[in-house]
């Protein structure tokens, strides 16, 4: 399980899991799960187009991910955010379908881009993934405070002079970067499961932003490692285990909240613990409801 070609798989998957845990935390906090689903799928269309005209798939992926992220950002400023995301997504997928209808061989390449081929990662891909991952994490570290503030309490951020829309665009660009980094190795669908499942579960266990962030990374890495080991043993696709484990962790988190609530003997209508220390996030409703 740890020999030869498997080493690259473990390294790349761990890097992707760490980044997914971090970016996913903000994704869930901002209620942007749809964006996290749409941008990688749009990038997939770009990769299909790039392979058609013989350019590097990474370039096509990055370009399409960036275009879709920016158009969601700009169109979403005026229209309904989720509707605009859906429109961008279907248009990009439509382009993908067009590219695929032009090319001759596609079935297995598509399958790999959607569901990933983490067991066939080359050393070059490891380097590219690492470089992009470092850029993503650096961006989040630099933007940490304003990003958290606009995610949790947009009104307060606005009052403090943070430009919420500019922050949204920055966040979307980071999502596009993560997409470019992860889709070639783990696939569009698996990345999405990681970015939503792990942080969603982590938030049930703690309301403190930093602990939730670390827990999210921890759960994400645990999911990926378990999934790879299970996939190695059973030969079933990695994406299956990641998707199902994400849901299992999420349900466990919900169960934990319910248990704590009944143990504390108080009903908190928000579905989250009201007993913890009154952190910024608790006071302002990290679960997305301004009090």
């Amino acid at each position: 399980m740890f020999s030869g070609f498997m080493v690259n798989a473990w390294i790349v998957a761990t890097m992707v899991a760490v980044v997914a845990g971090i970016i996913g935390f903000f994704t869930v906090l901002r209620g942007s799960a749809f964006v996290a689903h749409a941008v990688p799928q749009a990038g997939f269309a770009g990769a299909a187009g790039a392979s058609l005209i013989g350019v590097s798939t990474l370039a096509g992926l990055g370009t399409f991910a960036a275009i879709s992220a920016l158009s969601i950002g700009f169109l979403g400023k005026r229209g309904r955010h989720d509707a605009v995301t859906a429109l961008t997504l279907v248009f990009m997928l439509g382009l993908g379908a067009l590219f695929l209808s032009w090319s001759e061989e596609y079935a297995s390449a598509i399958y790999a881009l959607l569901f990933g081929e983490v067991l066939g990662v080359s050393s070059n891909q490891v380097l590219a993934t690492a470089a992009l991952g470092v850029v993503c994490i650096a961006a989040v570290v630099i933007l940490y405070r304003p990003l958290l503030l606009t995610s949790v309490v947009p009104e307060m951020a606005e009052a403090r002079g943070v430009r919420t829309h500019r922050m949204e665009l920055c966040f979307l660009v980071v999502v596009a970067l993560v997409t470019t980094m992860s889709v070639p190795v783990v696939g569009a669908l698996l990345m999405f499961s990681l970015m939503v499942g792990a942080p969603g579960a982590a938030r049930s266990f703690t309301d403190k932003p930093l602990s939730a962030l670390s827990l999210s990374v921890g759960i994400s890495v645990a999911i990926v490692w378990t999934a790879i080991a299970a996939s190695y043993e059973t030969d079933w696709p990695v994406g299956f285990f990641v998707g199902v484990l994400g849901a299992v962790f999420f349900i466990a988190g919900r169960g934990w909240v319910a248990w704590r609530r009944s143990a504390a003997g108080r009903v908190d209508s928000t579905g989250h613990l009201a007993t913890g220390p009154m952190q910024l996030a608790t006071a302002t409703g990290m679960n997305g409801e301004p009090t």
């Binding site: 509707a83 429109l87 439509g94 994406g239 299956f240 849901a247």
Partner: protein
């Protein structure tokens, strides 16, 4: 005149049996989706609408695996998915967003497994593509009665729930205060959406399913804030883009580079995007003419105050 018509409608367009079925079924499906979609967009559930399509696709892959009729796979999985979303989904938009994401993530994982098992057992990789992208020209005429029945079911649900749906979209609190069973109404709407989406998924594919659900409705809601009018607009736009898309796809058979026709889905989504951008532009023009006050109120309640129900909710995500 004849020459112009011939160049628009390539020879055989009106006599081809697949085209006729596609025009009827595609038109009906996009009509139902557009009407249901207006409520989906108003309630901010585009993500759920898209996810139900992907979940239906999982069901389609499962049905393919066991050799059942794909339609029932699509419908079953979409309804199970809708139930799971309703179960996990908090009442707040962000909680719902996450619940949808979790259900979708699990569904996609299962889809990966089904497709894997399907390809290893039967060695037909083409099935993946057909399931994911669908094709309007492969609808069988024998399925039309079932489709019609399910379409009527979806439309009946939204017609019966018209007022409570809108009211609970505006404010869940006001709706509950007036005695609307908010959760039941929400669950029934998800059910109608699941049926509409799985119908469109199995006939026109997952991409177009989301496109005809959200696109016409989103464009219509840029044109008008009145729900009744928006439904009419969405229906017209949905039909127009689908039929025009079919026509263009038929004509494109003679186009470069491959000489075997461009996909219908590309034309339909491109047309929808154009219509949406035009509607957005018209909306901006109208707001500018009406002056700054109207622009301000465009974002919030009060636009159609004085009507039977309160105005549409402020747009989520808009500043």
């Amino acid at each position: 005149m004849d020459a112009v018509l011939t160049s628009i409608f390539e020879p055989g367009f009106f006599t081809s049996e697949p085209v006729r079925v596609a025009v009827v079924v595609g038109g009906a499906v996009s009509l139902v989706s557009a009407v249901v979609g207006v409520f989906t967009v108003i309630r901010g559930q585009s993500f759920a609408g898209h996810s139900l399509g992907d979940l239906g696709t999982t069901g389609g892959a499962g049905a393919f695996l066991v050799g059942a009729n794909p339609l029932w796979g699509f419908v079953t999985f979409a309804i199970i998915g809708a139930g799971a979303m309703e179960l996990f989904g908090a009442r707040r938009p962000r909680g719902r967003d996450m619940a949808t994401g979790i259900v979708l993530g699990a569904g996609l994982g299962i889809a990966a497994l089904f497709l894997y098992l399907g390809t290893t057992q039967s060695n037909t990789t083409g099935a993946t593509i057909t399931i994911l992208f669908g094709s309007m020209f492969v609808i069988r005429a024998s399925m039309i009665p079932v489709f019609a029945l399910l379409s009527v079911l979806a439309l009946a649900v939204v017609a019966l729930l018209y007022r409570p749906l809108l009211l609970s979209a505006v404010s869940q609190d006001i709706a509950s205060a007036r005695g609307v069973p908010v959760r039941v109404v929400g669950a029934l709407h998800l059910l109608a959406m699941a049926v509409a989406v799985s119908l469109s998924c199995v006939t026109i594919g997952a991409i177009l399913s989301t496109a005809v659900l959200i696109g016409p409705a989103a464009a219509a809601l840029r044109l008008t804030k009145r729900p009744g009018l928006a439904i009419a607009w969405a229906a017209v736009i949905g039909l127009a883009v689908t039929w025009l898309g079919i026509l263009l796809a038929y004509d494109s058979y003679y186009w470069p580079p491959a000489g075997r026709g461009w996909p219908v889905s590309f034309f339909v989504v491109a047309l929808i995007l154009v219509v949406y951008l035009l509607a957005d532009l018209a909306n901006g023009q109208k707001a500018r003419r009406a002056g700054p006050r109207a622009i301000a109120s465009d974002k919030g309640p009060g636009v159609v105050a004085g009507r039977a129900w309160p105005s549409l909710p402020p747009e989520p995500g808009a500043e």
